[in-house]
């Protein structure tokens, strides 16, 4: 171990690649299949993008902490940030046939997370602490 299992970044889309690189490195160290790593990475990216855009409204004085934990054959990525509560698990998944028919744009981050991960847990602690945990069974 020795190496840090978490990173703290400024809430900016310009830092998304740093988060992806960090999670990829941690997952690769565990020998996780590259196809599965891709699913984890895009889910973390989508979750953090939503936080940057919707919760922090592109104000990069905010921060996002991303931690990876591996235990009991589960690889978990915990995303911690301050702000209003928003539980993505409660969001309804769009009907993709309708989506394409109407040429809709946006709103695909959460469906991607739900399709790619095995479990998603959201926790809000007063006054404004949030943690979103994305879990993949390995």
């Amino acid at each position: 171990m020795g190496e840090k299992e978490k990173i703290l970044i400024k809430s900016s889309t310009g830092n998304l690649h740093l988060i992806r690189d960090f999670v990829e490195k941690k997952a690769a160290e565990l020998g996780i299949d590259s196809k599965v790593i891709s699913q984890i990475i895009i889910s973390v990216d989508e979750a953090c993008t939503n936080v940057i855009k919707h919760t922090h409204k592109y104000n990069d004085t905010n921060e996002i902490e991303v931690e990876t934990v591996y235990k009991n054959k589960e690889f978990a990525v915990i995303i911690r940030y301050a702000g209003e509560a928003f539980d993505p698990t409660k969001k309804e998944t769009p009907d993709m046939k309708e989506y394409f028919k109407k040429f809709k744009v946006g709103g695909l981050g959460i469906p991607i997370m739900k399709k790619s991960m095995d479990k998603i847990e959201f926790k809000h602690t007063k006054p404004n602490k949030n943690s979103l945990t994305l879990i993949k069974v390995i």
Binding site: S12, L16, S34, D45, I52, M96, K97, G106, K115, S116
Partner: protein, 117 residues
């Protein structure tokens, strides 16, 4: 290495865009601007060559969704080619192949445009 760049090639009324690097919520505006530029030049037939693209998120998918209808209503289209399995899997996950023609090779996309000309 640049985070995201686009190289452009013109062949008659066809435009081929070669994407390089990663396409996420940070870089997708670069592609958006490119589409706006093509629209202003009345270029509606676009092939996207993904050979140099290492990553795409929903922000990237959103750019294609945002322009496909306009291009098609102007007798154009966006055809996608040369995707790695990694990139294709993301398009496939939510059913994008329903709406977008995805071909193995750029030349196939060119042929498709010429057939419909």
């Amino acid at each position: 290495m640049d985070e995201f760049t686009i190289t452009e090639k013109k062949a008659g009324d066809l435009v081929i865009l070669y994407l390089n690097g990663f396409l996420d919520a940070h870089t997708s505006s670069v592609l958006e601007k490119k589409f706006e530029e093509l629209l202003s030049k009345k270029l509606f037939k676009v092939i996207i060559n993904f050979a140099g693209l290492t990553y795409i998120s929903s922000a990237g998918l959103g750019v294609f969704m945002a322009y496909i209808e306009t291009l098609r209503s102007n007798s154009g289209d966006i055809k996608l080619s040369n995707m790695s399995d990694k990139i294709y899997n993301i398009f496939d996950m939510l059913g994008f192949p329903i709406l977008f023609k995805i071909v193995k090779d750029e030349s196939e996309a060119v042929t498709l445009f010429n057939e419909n000309a």
